[in-house]
Symmetry: C2
Amino acid sequence: MMLSDLQIAQKAKMSHILEIAKTINLSSEDLELYGDYKAKISFDAINRYKKNPRGKIVLVTAINPTKAGEGKSTTTIGLGDSLKALGYKTMIALREPSLGPVMGMKGGAAGGGYAQVVPMEDINLHFTGDIHAIGASNNLISSVIDNHLYQGNELNINPEKVIWRRAIDMNDRSLRKIQVALSLKREVPRYDGFDITVASEVMAVLCLSKDLDDLKQRLAAMVVAYDMDDQPITVADLKIQGALVMLLKDAIKPNLVQTLEKTPALIHGGPFANIAHGANSIIATDFASRVSDYVVTEAGFGADLGMEKFMDIKMRVMDTMPSAVVIVASIRALKLHGNASDDLLDQEDVQALKDGLVNLEKHIESVKTFDRPYVVAINRFPKDTENEIQALMDWAKDNNHPISLSEVFSKGSQGGLDLAQKVVEITKDENPHENRPLYPLNMPIKNKIEIIAKKIYGADGVDYGEKALEQLQAFNHNKWNDLAICMAKTPLSLSDDPKLKGRPQNFRITVREFKPSIGAGFIVALTGQVMTMPGLPKHGAYENMDVVDEKIIGLF
Amino acid sequence: MMLSDLQIAQKAKMSHILEIAKTINLSSEDLELYGDYKAKISFDAINRYKKNPRGKIVLVTAINPTKAGEGKSTTTIGLGDSLKALGYKTMIALREPSLGPVMGMKGGAAGGGYAQVVPMEDINLHFTGDIHAIGASNNLISSVIDNHLYQGNELNINPEKVIWRRAIDMNDRSLRKIQVALSLKREVPRYDGFDITVASEVMAVLCLSKDLDDLKQRLAAMVVAYDMDDQPITVADLKIQGALVMLLKDAIKPNLVQTLEKTPALIHGGPFANIAHGANSIIATDFASRVSDYVVTEAGFGADLGMEKFMDIKMRVMDTMPSAVVIVASIRALKLHGNASDDLLDQEDVQALKDGLVNLEKHIESVKTFDRPYVVAINRFPKDTENEIQALMDWAKDNNHPISLSEVFSKGSQGGLDLAQKVVEITKDENPHENRPLYPLNMPIKNKIEIIAKKIYGADGVDYGEKALEQLQAFNHNKWNDLAICMAKTPLSLSDDPKLKGRPQNFRITVREFKPSIGAGFIVALTGQVMTMPGLPKHGAYENMDVVDEKIIGLF
């Protein structure tokens, strides 16, 4: 009987975080401790290593996932442990889990099985308070906007064109659309809504900032509303960028923890992968790359979304490229792409598996578009059969795709040694070089989207809704053309239709609307509905949670 | 030129918190560090000292304050430093500041001048995350309620009788009344609102809990709504008390910091002083009393509210009494009670001062009602004149009131030595004894309120609004009679009319409505309007805040 993630994590004999820090040459002065097993890294330490040559960044991405996900975080952590087991100085850089989904049923974002970061309870709950600080910052902006409207509206803000929404780190569907200011005589009620905190632009900004000054400038540039003449109103107009930086001055420091096998891991920042770019902070990834041979990191959803945005948004800011890409695929998901039914994924179906490989093949092509070496990692699930695995290995051999069966979930680093060796092999001659994005920034927004849609999704072209076209005109007027593009699309298909599995052909995608994230430095292009506030299931995970003798039970 | 509070705090040479902990016999194993200057105390340490004999608790309270407050926190901290300077083992136990008012203009709750707790920036901002954790707990309840309504409403909750409100640690007046669930087809929109987090019953519960089990039971008992038959729905009905305890398992541990003079201080919990009892946590106060000769602590607002609730709610749970009461009065406030005009308080006015002494005299009588020794502390303000001070000293001498001029704001412990000596004197024979409350619990609610109104406020009696009378019937049905009473009244007057200064005579108070706080163990009696969500001023303090070279500026 396999233990639960929580049971495995609670059995772990963790090292004091000072011991972990020593392995990357950090002393106690470089850290702010949060208990014995978590610490924030000081800017002094970050600045000290800033000029070190970079180690190799390994990006873990995936095929289009099932709704349960393919195990990217688990593979990332396991691969890090395995690289360390091979003798390489290795760090892991991951996103911080949001508390909201923890209360639902999604499972933690701290890995799983024997490939976890610990202390997992803390990491999945309040951790070091970063997300709470981001929520407070987000909501200070809302509060100041409504206060400004109430106090006479000197900036002439159009109450119907406040685009800044409130935020809460909770799955709370009834806050998606609300009406505020219903008790006040002097103020007109207006519609608003709450997003889950990790969907706040503040989170994206924090993750893309290089330092406190950069953070302040980005926060100041965030557009929160339009005035009666349709001119954008920014945080700088409200004069609160300083207060926001003050609220975020600790949150911007990366958090050091460890894996079950004591590999140092930075867990820092967790922007949504649809409305934002879906990768951990630049400060964390950059620091990790300066103090280790390998940094293993991941990006949200499949390669069509996560990897593209990793290259074109995150890597562009860092001006580098990953030395290799690991594409995680599960046999379950491949069968789904081969048209196996959702409820039969536990049954052997070699034909569906083979049929589904077209999805993986498309993502491999995308990696090649970025000219990056790759290896396919099969994240082994208990119900995978030998026949299925063999079919997959045969396909890889026939087509010269590097592939590895990853069993880090059940075996820890020992289950990922082959994958780690393959990563070492393909990165042998891959030294970090400057960013090579898919598109240049100084190109019309439509052209940039077309490049992504054609080269990465395999679409024939892009259509625009009426609202999107109107917005493009306004963006042109506001001189917002030269920003990166952040695609918001279903992760479940290469197309913008979640039902189209495998490798859809002869399709176009439709951009319905744009969302300017000027502080983050991108324009979000929304295709279809994007959920920025999840709901709870009928019986949420919260019903099983408890604390007995100071020990948490029922958390995954 | 006097330095600002922030400048004084930033100049402080703090000791490592482990050094501070040593002075109360705690070792590094007893602490969870949050950086070098903040730590949470473990339950192991708390349990180890639980059976120690108690030191003397000194309660700092005040006359009815001006809107700016009388300097209770500053006096509490200064008195603690002075007692330590006299050679006594001393601890300070204070409430945690709420972030919301920090963004407005109220000033911090970490003392002032040379009587401060540090690191003051951290204490005033996110500190150790307790208030964020309380907010998350509060809002999990709301989310689960609305999810329950959405998922079929098995408990038959009346959507119009959900009494649980959402919470946010922000001054945000436009969230006072909102409408939620406006985007959903399956759910009926309902009215709701946000309180500032410290007004949440979760905060009151955390502060009145003795340990994790007590916390769980109290959380489970909280009433959140009524069903279609008007039966109360509790957190236990929603099955989330375990999840709530999980979210609060760190927040319930007291936070250790230090004063500018390195006196150990526990800053833990901060319930509102109107809708709740307004005192720091029982766990903190109790622990402090087990490891020191003196614990100096405070309660919100004046003695009519703060002290009464301290005795009848907090001390009842702890089954003890303070060994002495310090009544803080400022000459400014006394003049206000002598009918000086609000904008002329900086001018000498001996007659107004003398006329205002009736307010102080009434509070002294109330302290005597509880049979407690007392000393009046005049918190010196720069504009106080020698004539005024002399008039006050003469009055005290003529009437045999122990009195002391406190200059801890400008001089630190040296400015409070006389006060400390007087406290030592009056507590010489005052050893801790069992609680002696104003009223027993097993008495009708109306009688309990009448006792408070007559004995503490000096009222002739109590009237009840229609709603309050209806609620009393329902409470009777629900068997909620034997709970404590938590009065919610204006702090600005002994009566329920903020305009009546001095010592009002021939008045009655009106209870408009009740709020059951079953988890906290009290019924809140609301007289007049009670503000549970403050607003921001036209130009909030946030406009001046900034971070320069990692250093905060503009925070007070």
